[in-house]
């Protein structure tokens, strides 16, 4: 356990994400289909990277692999200094605590208030008392501008508010990496831009790397780098290839 934590924290000189020749397949035998084809990608500490590409090109698959939600089949995938090719279930579960995830649907727990939802993230921090963790949750809720709505259930919040809660929840466990899959697709364009602006500001403050999948052309200007994906291949991953 201690060893795992150290390995996550001592990556100072290393990339947040480092991918070499990563391939991924769905299905078996004659139904086998290649979704990722020799992907190469590096993400630096604190960097905000946008990933674009047509539907079905493999963006979500790449995100779930980086998020340690799927077993890595072929190639090198190193996230926060953890080699995920051949990693145990336990290693992946522990690593997930250092990765914040924001989904297309907000995926909040319906039976919990906004504050309790955020605290589900803060509860993963070891060694803090209940009140300290609640304090963290409150602070994050204020940071996304929802301190007045902390008692509300997700059903009583608007789409943009729910996505803010999801951002607060993702950041509350002090992640080193944020993964977001089309976080604005369910929002109108003004709200969408607001949300991404907020996400970018908070991530930069925490020096947290962000990999965001989006179709939204209006937020391209906020990225440090934009990658294009097509047919399981990434273009523009390394500056020298652009």
């Amino acid at each position: 356990m201690v060893k795992e934590n150290n390995s996550i924290n001592n990556f100072k000189n290393l990339k947040t994400v480092s991918i070499n020749n990563l391939s991924h397949f769905y299905g078996k035998n004659e139904n086998k289909k290649q979704v990722l084809n020799q992907v190469n990608l590096n993400i630096d500490k604190g960097e905000l990277v946008l990933l674009k590409g047509p539907s079905g090109c493999g963006k979500t698959t790449l995100l779930t692999l980086i998020g340690a939600l799927r077993t890595c089949q072929k190639g090198d995938l190193t996230v926060l200094n953890n080699q995920l090719n051949g990693a145990s279930r336990k290693t992946r579960q522990i690593l997930r605590r250092s990765i914040g995830m924001i989904f297309q649907g907000h995926n909040l727990l319906r039976c919990l208030t906004a504050e309790q939802n955020v605290q589900m993230g803060a509860d993963l921090i070891k060694g803090l008392t209940y009140l300290q963790r609640r304090e963290i949750a409150r602070n994050w809720l204020s940071a996304v501008g929802l301190e007045e709505h902390h008692k509300k259930l997700p059903n009583d919040l608007s789409g943009g508010q729910k996505q803010r809660v999801a951002i607060a929840r993702a950041l509350s466990a002090n992640p080193k990496l944020l993964l977001a899959d089309e976080p604005t697709s369910a929002l109108d364009s003004v709200t969408g831009r607001e949300i991404v602006t907020l996400l970018r500001k908070l991530a930069k403050e925490q020096n947290c790397s962000v990999l965001m999948v989006t179709h939204d052309p209006r937020i391209s200007d906020m990225a440090d780098r934009i990658l294009n994906m097509e047919d399981g291949k990434i273009y523009g991953a390394h500056s020298e290839l652009i």
């Binding site: 998020g67 939600l69 579960q93 997930r96 995926n107 319906r110 209940y130 259930l153 466990a173 899959d181």
Partner: protein, 390 residues
């Protein structure tokens, strides 16, 4: 580190999952309580019925009881020689003895003149028969011939004896075709074997039932000196007395009667089956509730896995839901059980009581029901795949 428990305190997810859906929770509680009440009723009736079969046994003023080895229960008592009872006096710890005759005789209802079988006990009025304060005074009246004490809890088919007796109308009727006078009332209660009871002197008993072999009794009561060990003396007596008599402690005598009804009738089976049905109904209800809870929240559970929660902690959430449901469902069942028991007690005279055995047994059954159903519902959690939620 004095508040270190605060480190383990988490959002009470199981509690919130249950209570934020009050309607479903109400259905669950109703279902579990219903199952619990059903079990309380079935097991209550079972124990109550077995207890009625030993009302008289429990009241007997004796430490040891002698019976014939051929006796199987109070409805089929055989006789044994009365001198066996006298022989017990040879053991120093025996203080006194009391011979008792027991048989079923025909009682005539003085109102409609129909006859019905009643359990009759005959004893020497100078002996102590029952552990009842006022009984000795009533027993005194049995010294006169043809006098009987009637059990006022006997079924109404025996006639309005209590009513007539209390209105100081002289109650006279026939037992086994011979005239008797009711000299008093006792309170014993009907049982499986007997719809009613009467107590009389041995002299009157033998007059009513002349076919009783001379010198033969059905029950011998033995009272020991203070501080003696009934178990030990019963062993000594069983070894020293001939095989035509069996010595039981009072406790064994009570068990002997209960066991007969437990083993030779389907009563225990029927009521246990009823309780089992309650158990099964409860399992189905809890399983349905928890299974639909897991299914409804599957994407949320998957989100928790994606956040880094262990599958094991999700299992605990469902297990805790099961535990909470057990508590929520058991408490109303317990209190309704208390109320229903007292209603049944007062309306049927059945000695149905909330004893520690039933209280604990049914709690354990409700707990097993809820935790078992939770364990089955948990298997659905394996379908929560964090890779599928993006």
């Amino acid at each position: 580190m004095s508040f270190s428990f605060l480190k383990f305190r988490k959002i009470p997810l199981a509690w919130l999952l249950l209570t934020r859906q009050p309607l479903r929770l109400a259905v669950a509680i109703a279902g579990i309580s219903f199952a619990g009440i059903l079990m309380f009723m079935q097991l209550g009736f079972r124990d109550g019925l077995f207890d009625t079969s030993v009302t008289i046994h429990k009241l007997l003023d004796a430490d040891l009881v002698l019976i014939s080895p051929r006796s199987k229960s109070s409805i089929s008592m055989s006789g044994f020689p009365k001198r066996r009872l006298i022989q017990t006096l040879a053991v120093e710890d025996v203080e006194k003895t009391a011979p008792v005759n027991l048989n079923y005789l025909l009682w005539r209802n003085p109102e409609n003149l129909k006859t019905r079988s009643i359990l009759a006990l005959g004893f020497n009025p100078s002996d102590s028969l029952l552990l009842d304060e006022g009984f000795a005074k009533k027993a005194y009246k049995l010294r006169n011939p043809s006098r009987v004490l009637f059990d006022k809890l006997s079924r109404p088919e025996f006639g309005p004896i209590e009513q007539w007796f209390l209105s100081e109308k002289k109650v006279e009727t026939e037992v086994a075709g011979k005239r008797v006078i009711v000299e008093g009332l006792v309170e014993l209660g009907p049982s499986f074997g007997a719809d009613g009871n009467l107590i009389t002197s041995r002299e009157t008993f033998l007059r009513l039932f002349p076919a009783n072999p001379p010198g033969s009794i059905e029950i011998g009561l033995v009272k020991l000196k203070k501080g003696s060990d009934p178990e030990l003396i019963s062993r000594i007596l069983n070894n020293s007395l001939p095989n035509d008599v069996r010595v039981l402690t009072k406790k064994q005598f009570i068990e002997f009667e209960k066991n007969y009804w437990k083993n030779s009738t389907a009563i225990g089976f029927i009521f246990s089956l009823g309780a089992l049905m309650g158990f099964v109904v409860g399992c189905v209800v809890v399983y349905q509730i928890l299974y639909s809870d897991v299914t409804d929240h599957l994407p949320e559970y998957a989100t928790l896995l994606a956040m880094g929660y262990r599958l094991k902690s999700l299992f605990f959430v469902v297990a805790r839901e099961g535990f909470l449901l057990a508590l929520f469902g058991y408490l109303p069942a317990y209190f309704s059980g208390q109320i229903l028991y007292s209603v049944i007690r007062s309306s049927t005279k059945l000695p149905i009581i909330m004893d520690a055995d039933k209280t604990i047994l049914i709690f354990v059954l409700v707990l097993v029901m809820c935790m078992g159903s939770a364990a089955v519902a948990m298997r659905k959690l394996v379908d929560a795949d964090p890779a599928e939620i993006f």
